[in-house]
């Protein structure tokens, strides 16, 4: 039973066009006893493993085989922990920035709304003052006028906020989005490179076979092989360029953004301080007038 199963097993592997290339299989079939002993005694290597593990390997191979057969190839990705971290950072950053930008935009709106309501309030108070008459009426009118004045300040600040704070934040978001696009490009480049590399390997083996059998298709195959080789080299170069550029750009990006944001924050704070001071001054100028009203 075991002999039969093993027979089937080995032949199956041997007949799979990818797995038949596997080094391990070749060793298994061809290696002399000496080499085999060495392999068995190695710490690593599949021949060290216990039969139970062999079953696991068989299962893994089986799943990979079925994947290939079903066309469900897992996407090839870089397994670079640093790069992973950076990708995660970029995606998270976009979320945070988008939220901040949203609130910044809302804040602009709120300034406009407050300005509008102060203006309406001022108008209504002025009319009330007109029908009141005497000292109190005057006080109302003054208040109304001041309200309208402050409303204008608020509208101005809203615009300033939009231009000098919300816009830079939007820029920041856009920059992050463009980095995301680059990430996608890099993934594509990597995948292409991998695919080409694999195809080349297969072509190589094929070429060897043809050469061994002295087939008349050797010439054709050789040309194909050379073309593929060139493509692969290009793809690799392209990928490496992207990686290099990304690494450079990230540093520059961080530095630039610190400057940009620093300026944006400065403008924001300046604008708010200016607005607040303007408001305080405007209201304060009313106080002596109100005082004189009460003594009247």
């Amino acid at each position: 039973m075991r002999r039969q199963a093993l027979d089937i097993f080995v032949n199956r592997i041997a007949s799979h066009h990818e797995l038949q290339q596997s080094e391990d299989l070749r060793t298994f079939c061809q290696a002399d006893e000496e080499t085999m002993e060495r392999a068995r005694s190695q710490e690593t290597g599949i021949f060290k493993k216990k039969p139970a593990d062999l079953m696991q390997i068989f299962k893994d191979v089986q799943s990979r085989v079925s994947d290939v057969v079903l066309g469900k190839e897992k996407p090839v990705e870089e397994s670079n922990p640093e790069y992973e971290k950076m990708k995660h950072y970029i995606f998270e950053l976009e979320n945070h920035l988008a939220e901040a930008q949203k609130h910044a935009y809302r804040l602009v709106k709120r300034h406009r709304e407050l300005g509008q309501s102060l203006s309406d309030f001022g108008k209504a108070v002025k009319i009330l003052g007109a029908c009141e008459g005497n000292g109190l009426g005057k006080a109302f009118s003054e208040l109304g006028t001041k309200s309208e004045l402050i409303s204008i300040k608020l509208q101005k600040e809203a615009h300033h906020l939009l231009m000098n704070f919300e816009e830079p934040l939007k820029d920041y978001v856009r920059a992050v989005q463009s980095i995301k696009a680059t990430i996608a490009e890099r993934a594509n480049a990597f995948r292409l490179q991998c695919e080409l590399a694999e195809t080349i390997k297969l072509k190589e083996i094929n070429l060897d076979k043809l050469m061994l059998t002295r087939s008349d298709r050797v010439g054709e195959a050789e040309i194909e092989y050379k073309e593929l080789k060139a493509e692969s080299e290009e793809a690799t170069k392209r990928f490496e360029t992207i990686v290099r550029l990304m690494n450079e750009e990230i540093v520059r990006f961080q530095e630039q953004k610190t400057l940009d944001m620093g300026l944006a924050f400065h403008e924001f704070a300046k604008g708010q301080a200016r607005l607040a001071n303007g408001i305080a001054d405007a209201w304060r100028s009313l106080i002596p007038k109100l005082e004189s009203c009460s003594s009247a």
Binding site: N95, E99, A100, H103, L118, Q254, H266, A269, A273, W283
Partner: protein
């Protein structure tokens, strides 16, 4: 963009703090025109959000950003613990302007009894009332509804030094239900016609069904307290027998209950046939004319006055006496105009308060977003530029959160000041009521004069007719005697009515004087308080932002 919001807040780290920030943000006045006081807003809002009691909420606001807990593990309640060192705890002492707020001598003191900003008058008399301890009680009498009816009573505590109540240092309590308050209000309206009597809280039957029980009871308790304090603030009414009895007498309220319209009409309808068919033609009691026809049982009188009113408006001839007081008419017109504008300003004030609340909220949300960003950049920092940026963001976030807090406090004070507008809308209701007292008293006088005039005419006619018959016409003579009797009673009634009318006019006049003065003081106080408040908080905010501007001045382009 919407997706990010959900994502951001579903992370829930700062969800607690956002909610907590919102609970101290003022709820917009949602029931009509209420700029109700801060305390009731907070309690209302809590009922909405079913959060823990006030004390816990107020202290919890400090939690996310200020807590000095030394725990190093980040739990969901205090995700910003690492930021303790960044944000100083707010010193409320230097944020609340006790010195600025002249009108509210006791900014923190929600126990202050003043409903209007006018401080206690120069004399040392006081009559302080508080309404507390709502209690659900069972209806004792047999009710048709099995299981009985429940009603709520309130503890009314009075502290006073007025002699009418027992001299200095008196303090006493009674339990009253809302129906008692209605009775008090009705009896006062009868006794003090022509005065600007503060209007009692609504019965609001619908609201009592719709709102949560505790919320409704609390709202009513607060409204009752305000009402009683206003009554106590009225120079005439605070000395009234009705109020004294209401505040002092324990057990059942010894004031005659008001009857509902249906029973009155029923009573009136019983008497009507007798009235119409001549058996009792004149009002049995001349004193009845002291009260308006509408609230009474004398249907005939109601009809007569209605007829008079119609003839006033549509009849060809001028009514026997009219409102001639030009000064009064001028003042009345002015007041009506004032009322309209006041209503408008009150609406705009509500919008203003809402806008202030909104900007404070958004500022806070912006701050929190930057807090999250700061945390993120700090954790993920690979480059120094990130650390620098994180530090800048921290400053901005801190300032934003501070500013948000300042807006919140500003708004709380604004609401208190602008509440005067709402108060005076209530006063205008009282004024209108007093003016209609005057109008109905005038109508009574006019009706009686018309009646007298027609009686005289009838008597003359009868006398003329009977004089033609030699020896006298027994039936006519009898009729004339009857009419002369009626005439005498009507004359008495007319005298009463005229006296009443003149009294009401006098009351109106005095009250108008009082109103003008108080209005002037109250509104001036409101304006001052509002302006000082705005200036003060604007200054505080300027300081906060100037600091950040300074810290980031390195980034500024040259010359800016």
């Amino acid at each position: 963009m919407m997706g990010y919001e959900n994502q951001g807040y579903e992370e829930a780290h700062l969800y607690a703090s956002r909610e907590e920030m919102e609970t101290l943000v003022l709820d917009e006045p949602s029931n009509g025109h209420h700029l109700s006081d801060h305390r009731s807003i907070v309690s209302l809002h809590e009922a909405h959000h079913t959060l823990s009691p006030p004390a816990a909420v107020i202290s919890a606001v400090d939690d996310p950003l200020v807590s000095s807990s030394s725990s190093s593990s980040v739990d969901h309640q205090n995700p910003n613990l690492p930021f303790n060192s960044f944000l100083e705890p707010p010193s409320y002492a230097d944020v609340i302007f006790n010195s600025f707020d002249e009108s509210n001598g006791d900014t923190n003191g929600h126990e202050s009894p003043k409903s209007l900003p006018r401080s206690a008058s120069s004399n040392s008399d006081y009559l302080n009332i508080s309404v507390t301890e709502p209690y659900r009680e069972q209806e004792m009498s047999n009710s048709l509804v099995p299981g009985g009816n429940t009603y709520v009573t309130y503890l009314i505590t009075t502290r006073t030094n007025l002699p009418e109540f027992g001299g200095p240092g008196s303090e006493f309590s009674v339990r009253r239900r809302f129906k008692d308050v209605v009775t008090l209000s009705d009896r006062l309206s009868e006794s003090y016609r022509g005065f600007f009597i503060p209007v009692r809280p609504d019965k609001s039957v619908v609201e009592s069904q719709v709102m949560q029980k505790e919320e409704f009871v609390e709202q009513r308790r607060s409204a009752l307290e305000k009402y009683l304090r206003r009554l106590a603030g009225h120079p005439m009414i605070k000395k009234s027998e009705e109020l004294r009895v209401f505040l002092r007498v324990e057990g059942k309220l010894p004031l005659p209950r008001s009857t509902d319209v249906a029973s009155r009409m029923l009573d009136g309808a019983v008497k009507l046939p007798k009235q119409l068919f001549g058996e009792s033609v004149a009002p049995a009691n001349p004193q009845e004319v002291m009260q308006p026809a509408k609230g009474g049982r004398d249907l005939l009188r109601i009809f007569k006055e209605l007829k008079q009113a119609v003839s006033n408006d549509w009849g060809g001839s001028k009514p026997p006496v009219v409102e001639e007081d030009k000064e009064f008419l001028e003042r009345k017109d002015k007041l009506m105009e004032f009322e309209q504008q006041l209503s408008n300003v009150s609406q705009q004030a509500e919008s203003l308060v809402k806008a202030q609340q909104d900007i404070g909220e958004t500022m806070g949300e912006l701050g929190l977003a930057f807090v999250k960003l700061t945390k993120f950049e700090t954790e993920e920092a690979l480059y120094n530029s990130q650390r620098v940026r994180a530090a800048d963001m921290k400053n901005l976030a801190t300032a934003s959160v501070k500013a948000s807090r300042l807006y919140r406090e500003l708004n709380a004070q604004t609401v208190k000041h602008l509440d005067t507008l709402h108060e005076y809308l209530g006063v205008m209701l009282a004024v209108n009521s007093a003016f209609s007292d005057r109008a109905s008293a005038l109508l009574t006088v006019q009706t009686l004069l018309s009646e007298l005039s027609s009686l005289h005419t009838r008597i003359e006619k009868l006398e003329a007719a009977s004089s033609k018959i030699f020896g006298g016409d027994r039936s006519r003579i009898r009729k004339i005697e009857e009419l002369k009797e009626t005439l005498k009673v009507s004359e008495d009634a007319k005298t009463c009515a005229v006296r009443e009318y003149e009294q009401i006019k006098e009351n109106n006049r005095n009250e108008l004087e009082r109103l003008d003065k108080e209005r002037h003081d109250d509104f001036l106080s409101m304006l001052k308080g509002f302006v000082v408040n705005q200036a003060g908080y604007a200054e505080k905010m300027a300081n906060v932002w100037e600091k950040v501007a300074e810290e980031t001045s390195g980034y500024a382009k040259d010359g800016s």
